[in-house]
């Protein structure tokens, strides 16, 4: 009898538990409408080897992706995954749990480095895989990989591996410098003891134009991007300043004051001969910037009072004012982003100088800097996703051009002005 009772009790217990199970028989739906906005969280964990090369690769990856534009790098302190066990693979849920949408992995072996990009939505199959020979220049290899990652997500290559030129101020003198966009490998371009200002990269990246007082007059010179003996391109009486190359590299817009008043001119990049005069106004017209489509030139003029940004056809004609905020706006530069008509410039807001962008189509303004010192002379990255600028007495900084991503990152310390960002590196 005891056996019967025990068996019966077990069976009854089972039935009872099934009867209590809360199986869904119906439900309700809430329609949620989210908006795509914000940055894409991507993780760049260091390979488990943890040696100097592994550290450098992880550091460069993290830096590149943090300034790339639409990304934010997940804090390594939050990682839950066992990197040693994972190796080049991935345990998706552990990365999802720390909020990562993408994870960049790599492994160095046999003189090569294999990179993998995983997307959490695609599980443990890598979305992108690249292998490069690992020479002495580890940074360049990582920049190439990060460019591929940015291209995978945005369709546009990244700007990693590009260079920035700027004027470094010394005691009573100033020199043209160039460096990697992340502040590494800085070198002098202008080898003279005079004052050298306002560098401008040629579209090919092979040359830099700048104004030098080496023969007392502010003349325009061109030198190789690596430095070397400069060639005088424009030595008109008075100012020969603020060079801006046409997109095809055949012409240069600049300010000449040969007739007394500073005006915008276009000269041939090959011999410095004047092609045409763009402005003709009794006001001061300076700081030309050629649009990426080659059709327009933005410049600064005080013809309506204080200095404001104007845009004129590259063939000349009447100029239209495009900046209307405040009473002091200078140093315009065009975004190279395709399909957009955006300029960045320096604006005076109260007692401080800040960088803003202005969409000429939508009139939408984005503030890039605020309450962070005196900022001036912006320059867009080759893909338009970042802006470099000089901060008085502090150095050269990089910020995301959409205004997201928090504070700007310092890439060069010192007294700098006249920042210009070179073209994208060639593979």
């Amino acid at each position: 009898m005891f056996q019967i009772q025990r068996t019966t009790l077990v069976a009854l217990a089972l039935v009872s538990s099934v009867a209590r199970a809360d199986e869904p028989t119906s439900g309700s739906i809430i329609e949620v409408s989210g908006q795509k906005k914000g940055l894409y969280p991507i993780a760049a964990p260091m390979a488990p080897e943890g040696d100097a090369v592994a550290k450098e690769i992880a550091n460069v990856e993290s830096f590149d992706m943090s300034v790339a534009g639409p990304f934010k790098v997940v804090d390594p302190a939050s990682f839950l995954a066992n990197l040693k066990e994972e190796g080049l693979g991935i345990e998706v849920q552990k990365w999802k749990d720390v909020g990562a949408y993408g994870v960049m992995k790599y492994k160095v072996s046999g003189g090569n480095v294999e990179f993998r990009l995983y997307e959490m939505s695609k599980g443990n199959t890598p979305s992108l895989t690249k292998t490069y020979p690992l020479g002495k220049d580890v940074r360049t290899v990582v920049h190439r990989w990060c460019n591929e990652v940015v291209k995978y997500y945005t369709g546009e290559p990244g700007f990693f591996g590009s260079k920035i030129a700027f004027t470094a101020k010394g005691k009573g003198t100033s020199a043209i410098y160039a460096m990697d966009f992340d502040g590494q490998n800085a070198y002098v371009v202008s080898h003279n003891s005079s004052t050298n200002i306002l560098p401008s990269w040629s579209p090919s990246g092979g040359q830099i134009a700048y104004t030098s007082f080496m023969r007392d007059n502010p003349d325009l010179y061109i030198s190789g991007a690596g430095g070397g003996r400069p060639k005088k391109l424009s030595g008109q009486r008075g100012m020969n300043t603020g060079a801006s190359w046409s997109p095809d590299g055949s012409k240069i817009a600049l300010t000449l004051s040969k007739d007394g008043n500073p005006e915008i001119y276009v000269i041939n990049a090959s011999d410095g001969s004047i092609v045409r005069r763009i402005t003709n106004d009794k006001a001061i017209d300076t700081s030309p910037s050629w649009s990426p489509d080659g059709g327009s030139i933005a410049f600064v003029s005080d013809r309506n009072g204080g200095p404001q940004i104007f845009v004129v056809s590259a063939n000349g004609g009447s100029a239209r004012q495009v900046s209307f905020n405040g009473s002091y706006n200078t140093t315009p530069t065009w975004s190279p982003a395709k399909g957009k008509h955006v300029i960045a410039y320096t604006t005076r807001d109260g007692g401080s100088y800040d960088i803003v962008t202005l969409d000429l189509d939508t009139k939408n303004m984005v503030r890039i800097t605020q309450n962070e010192g005196q900022n001036e002379e912006p320059a867009f990255s080759p893909n338009g996703q970042a802006i470099a600028f000089a901060r008085a007495g502090a150095g050269v900084f990089i910020a995301k051009s959409d205004g997201q991503g928090g504070k700007a990152i310092k890439v060069w310390s010192g007294s700098a002005t006249g920042v210009d960002w070179g073209p994208a590196p060639k593979d």
Binding site: Q3, L14, V18, S26, I30
Partner: protein
């Protein structure tokens, strides 16, 4: 009967009874699993959030009509004649007193007792309206708001994941599940939203209003759409 016979009958009885009890169990379990609700069978709840637009002056509710001019009652036609104060000061009889007076509160009438929290149809600063005009139950709206579903700007995918939660009466989330998976970045964003909601609601539970218990104790699902920017 001998002991052996008793044991045999007992064993047979046990087997029969066990079979009789287990058969429905085996049959019912897959049946119950098969009864997962089809999305099309689910009830749709309006809990969309109202987003702040250009502030507009909404029709204002009249809280109280202007007090009429009091006129003394009486047969006299002389409007300036004062009413006998004795009548005014006369205390009401016990039977005349409102027996429910002690249960009434100053707020029971529509007299302005202070600045109203908000006007009908206006927003309270949380980008979440809570008047009738803004639709939806406030508790549901807050739940949807706590989801904070914001896929990154470069998120890939066009799918519409459907993720569900079940809540206890105390407001804690007991279970989560995805009825529709899209295997794209929007799925990752939806999973992050559900995980975030679970953390928020389990750390600081918001008790489920009684009238919603019937809904929240079953699968309460979120259809993750993307609003054009």
């Amino acid at each position: 009967m001998k002991d052996a016979e008793i044991q045999t009958i007992s064993l047979i009885g046990t087997v029969v009874l066990t079979a009789a009890l287990f058969a429905p169990v085996v049959w019912l379990v897959p049946k119950a699993e098969a009864h997962e609700p089809e999305l099309k069978e689910m009830e749709t709840i309006e809990a969309s959030l109202a987003y702040r637009k250009t502030p507009q002056k909404q029709p204002q509710k009249r809280l109280k009509a202007a007090d009429p001019v009091e006129k003394p009652e009486g047969v006299s036609r002389d409007e300036n004649k004062k009413v006998d104060k004795k009548d005014e000061e006369k205390k009401p009889k016990k039977d005349d007193q409102d027996p429910l007076a002690k249960f009434k509160h100053p707020q029971d009438d529509d007299s302005p007792t202070g600045k109203p929290v908000t006007d009908i149809g206006q927003f309270n600063g949380d980008e979440k309206g809570f008047a009738d005009e803004t639709k939806g139950d406030p508790w549901m709206q807050q739940l949807a708001a706590d989801l904070n579903y914001t896929p990154p700007e470069i998120a890939k995918g066009n799918g519409v994941p459907v993720g569900c939660v079940r809540l206890n009466a105390d407001g804690k989330i007991s279970d989560t599940k995805f009825f529709t998976r899209t295997d794209d970045d929007l799925q990752t964003a939806a999973e992050a939203a559900i995980a975030g909601l679970k953390k928020i609601r389990n750390d600081k539970p918001v008790e489920v209003p009684t009238h919603l218990l019937k809904i929240t104790t079953r699968w309460l699902c979120f259809k993750f759409n993307v609003r054009p920017s």
